[in-house]
Amino acid sequence: MLPTITIFGKTIAMYGLMIVLGLFIGIGIAIARHKSNNFKKDDIIFASCYAGIGLVIGAKLLYILTTLPQIIKNWDVLVSDINNFYQLLTGGFVFYGGFIGAAIGFYIYCRQYNLNTIKMLDFFAPIIPIIHSFGRIGCFFAGCCYGINYEGLLHIIFEHSPVAPNGIPLFPIQLVESASNLSFGIILLFYAKKTERKPGKVIGLYVIYYAIMRFTFEFLRGDIIRGFFLNLSTSQWISFLLLPIGVWLFFDMKIKKKYSSI
């Protein structure tokens, strides 16, 4: 659709722009609602920075893991030209890797400064799908993470995409996932408003939602370079593993007992 734009003579990838825009809007929402919890504004900003760093590192690492066979196969070509290697570094990110990396970032920050990680994750849970919805719009602009062949209502046809098959009607999975994430993020914002929720409820609900949503939506994805094992994609396997963690966070009494006094 629109992989890049030019601002002041500099070409910028729309994907990167949407991610950065989403991060700033997400952190802005977090700062605006910091009084609803007992976190200081500085802690919100600093924890976001740690999570942002974890997000990029995690998303990149999981991408490298999922494409490892192709990377090994084409290693000679990759190292023969610095530009190829640079492209490997700059392009390709997997959301689940970013989510896990961000959670680790929050954990490190909270541990370093004696804050409650579960409460911090609860606080940021509604922000995650909102940021993600911007990322998916970035995918749509770039043409990556595209859908299966589909000629029904609201299909999309890419004409100048460097990745998606051009001239073929596709299911607009990026936009559907973006709308789904944004709606659920808003629902979670209202859900999290109730102050007496037990720790783990909001993040648990988000993990349950995303695991189910992602597992289902993966069947509507048309891009195949994402790593598959036993007919399920890497993200479906991770969804499969994350769902019980979400249920455990949402229902488990141990967390409630341990943190309810803090």
Partner: protein, 88 residues
């Protein structure tokens, strides 16, 4: 303790400024990202140790701006997928 914190704040400020310079270096923007991350962590530590340290605050702000602007030129979802696809 204060000197160490001050050292971290100065380092954060310097790294934040250098990371901003890397915005203009095209493909080497990833070096700016690495410097901005280090500057950010040092700035956060300095600000935590001394909340009124203006130098630490400036270091954090410049590192965040450097990180965001370098990331803009650095992140793209498609490049690598396209590359791997074309190689495979």
């Amino acid at each position: 303790m204060e000197n160490r914190s001050n050292g971290k704040a100065t380092a954060s400020l310097v790294l934040g400024i250098i990371s901003l310079v890397f915005i203009f270096f095209g493909t080497y923007a990833f070096l700016g990202i690495i410097l901005a991350i280090i500057g950010l962590i040092l700035g956060i530590q300095a600000k935590k140790e001394n909340p009124n340290d203006g130098k630490a605050k400036a270091g954090v702000v410049l590192s965040i701006i450097g990180l965001a602007l370098c990331a803009l030129t650095f992140l793209s979802c498609i490049a690598c997928v396209g590359l791997i696809a074309s190689l495979a």
